[in-house]
Amino acid sequence: MENAFGQPHNVIVLGGSSDIATAIVRQLVAARTRTVVLAGRNQHLLDEAASSAAAHGATATATVIFDAKDPDNVAATIDACFAAVGEPIDLVIVAVGTLGDQDVDENNSASAAVTATVNYTWPVAALSELRGRLIAQGTGRILVISSVTAIRVSRRNYHYGAAKAGLDRYSEALAVSLEGTGVSVQILRPGFVHSKMTAGMKAVPFATTPDAVATVTVAGLASGERVIHAPRILKWVFLVLRHAPTAIWSKLGSR
């Protein structure tokens, strides 16, 4: 069970080898979390993340393999994760996502479909599956990893950004739908994060690291704020940018 400070005892991560999720889990287990279930595509990367969680304080870890290109596996994947914990789930981190390749996605419908599926369809199906299960247990939190690009989609990676925008809007409404059930949804919107996903890309202003994002996220989980921006200043930057005239936005987006 979660304690008075919003610190979970157990955590499931969908997209368990994500650098941001791994950093968040490291901080959670250093505080109070003991059971960690990591689900993802690559056993090797999941094992590494599990070792890292164990090294920082987790006493029980498990891994579950799935591929987010196939939404048909959602129910079975979540079943396996819940079974691995075996008690009410305190926190589910939905960290599934891929940046995709914008240039390929623009010219290849099959590739565009994969980017949309991994960033939107699979996570939404997972959230839909989680909703009923968490309502039944009367407790639990979901942390959806979105992106600031969801606030205003950029020319540079709009296949990724538009899917994140869909997921972000869905999660906002899901959060409202869960009021009064004991279950809550929080949305994390990181800016540019130096990670596996962005390796080789040119950094943008306010670029940050997974550890810095994790620190802001853990504080946000404790306070219960619905949307967590990391770094925090991006909340204000994007408050302005979302209303910037298109001409200016296009210029920024094509840099």
């Binding site: 304690n3 008075a4 407790t139 059930t181 004991g182």
Partner: protein, 444 residues
């Protein structure tokens, strides 16, 4: 029957459950037979997650009412859903007071038993359970009348058992005869912790009631400055125009959540300072009403809203006399951490009960009110746990909302006896709570 989000008085860690209000022991039995997870709840004054059960069935006991006439020996039989407030209102005009009252009258008799509440008289009179003659307990394996002589293990496991042995539907207890509704109170102010503790050690036995309010935000020479109030029920010949009137109800309500930052180090420091200054340096035999002496916070309805949306935690521990220094260490840790905390309550404790979850032990108990919010607070309290554990002490489960399971097990070394009793009476593990799950109090 309805689905409700429930939380404790500290308003942290909410969870949703199906809520019912059984009208009788028969109803309770029926609910236990059709549930896979259930717990009783009274007025929701436990600070943490003791009376909630995510996804389960929560039985609110308020319909289990009824107060019998008090017999000449002071014995009264009451429904478990009767509050201490209702009991005082009924019995005080007849010259009977509750044998033990916690800091609020807004708890039910069932809750008082489950948390084995204590009052300012623990050093003389023990806890609520010590004044119980018998009770009727509905369990998944049957309904039993238990007492210190009839099924004593089950009786003492139920006293302080956090509701995990069954649902108390009725209890018979022995009331305290009083001549008036006044308490004669001696008040003294102390500049530091050592002086108040040594006065309590040497003089508390002369009073039925004793409590010290300690300022945990002062450092240096005035660390732990305190106000000690001690008293006894006034006899008729000790007050002018003696009466036996029940205390007045609350006159003020906090209508909505205060902003979370209202209680911050600056405002709390100011409050503590004002409280300290307002107390007389020394005053003797001042008559006070029962409400203002025993239940000062009952004057304000929903005062927990003052802590804002994020709520607060209460941290109460007991340590043996041999480890009195743990009190100083914990206050020092707290004042050095600069985590804001309201006036702490320091008391002497007498013997606990034979139950495996009994909290009191001869020595000291300190209770702290701490707003949730400061990032350092979870770790500061983990550090206090270690001080308490090293001192051979324990944390009070009725107020806990954040202790770690392995530390709870170390603090309650006889927990396995308790768990065994639970397993016998409830082999399927139906009785549970968020607290029991968090601290792994019962075996599944």
């Amino acid at each position: 029957m309805s689905r409700q989000v429930l939380y404790g008085w500290g308003r942290t860690a909410p969870s949703a459950a199906t809520v019912v209000e059984p009208q009788s022991a028969h109803d309770v039995t029926a609910h236990l037979h059709t549930s896979t997870a259930a717990i009783a709840r009274g007025l929701g004054r436990s600070y943490g997650d003791a009376a909630q059960l995510a996804g389960g069935l929560v039985m609110v006991n308020r319909e289990l009412g009824g107060i019998s006439p008090v017999n000449p020996r002071g014995e009264v039989t009451v429904g478990a859903g009767v509050s201490i407030d209702e009991l005082i209102r009924e019995c005080l005009p007849q010259g009977w007071f509750v044998p033990v009252t916690p800091g609020t009258r807004q708890v039910t008799v069932g809750g008082a038993i489950a948390a084995d509440v204590h009052g300012k008289n623990h050093h003389v009179d023990g806890s609520f359970g010590h004044h119980l003659i018998s009770m009727e307990l509905v369990t998944p394996t049957g309904t039993f009348t238990v007492s210190p002589t009839s099924r004593p293990e089950l009786f003492w496991a139920t006293v302080g058992g956090m509701g995990l042995t069954g649902v108390v539907v009725e209890a018979t207890l022995r009331m305290l005869p009083v001549e008036t509704d006044r308490v004669l109170v001696d008040t003294q102010r102390f500049k530091d912790l050592d002086s108040v503790m040594s006065e309590m050690l040497s003089g508390d036995h002369r009073y039925r009631y004793s409590v010290a309010w300690v300022d945990c935000m002062t450092r240096g020479a005035s660390m732990g400055r305190a106000i000690l109030t001690r008293g006894d029920h006034a006899r008729r010949d000790q007050v002018e125009a003696p009466t036996l009137l029940p205390p007045r109800g609350s006159r003020i309500t906090v209508p909505f959540d205060a902003p979370s930052g209202l209680l911050n180090p600056a405002t709390i420091r100011l409050f503590n300072e004002a409280w300290y200054r307002a107390a007389p340096k020394s005053k003797v035999a001042q008559p006070q009403g029962i409400g203002s002496f025993f239940h000062p916070l009952d004057g304000v309805t929903a005062w927990n809203r003052l802590y804002g949306r994020r709520g607060f935690v209460q941290y109460q521990f007991a340590v043996p006399d041999s480890a009195g220094d743990a009190v100083r260490q914990s206050i020092e840790t707290l004042s050095n951490s600069k985590v804001p905390s309201f006036l702490a309550v320091l008391k002497r404790f007498g013997e606990g009960t034979p139950g495996g979850l009994s909290f009191p032990m001869p020595g000291w108990t300190l209770a702290l009110d701490l707003p949730v919010g400061p990032a350092a607070l979870p770790q500061v309290l983990n550090d206090l746990d270690d001080i308490v554990l090293a001192a051979g002490g324990r944390v009070y489960l009725a107020k806990d909302s954040r202790l770690e399971a392995h530390k709870a097990h170390a603090m309650y070394p006889r927990l396995h006896e308790f768990a065994t009793t639970c397993q016998e009476i409830d082999p399927q593990g139906i009785l549970s709570s968020d607290l029991a799950r968090r601290l792994q109090l019962i075996r599944k």
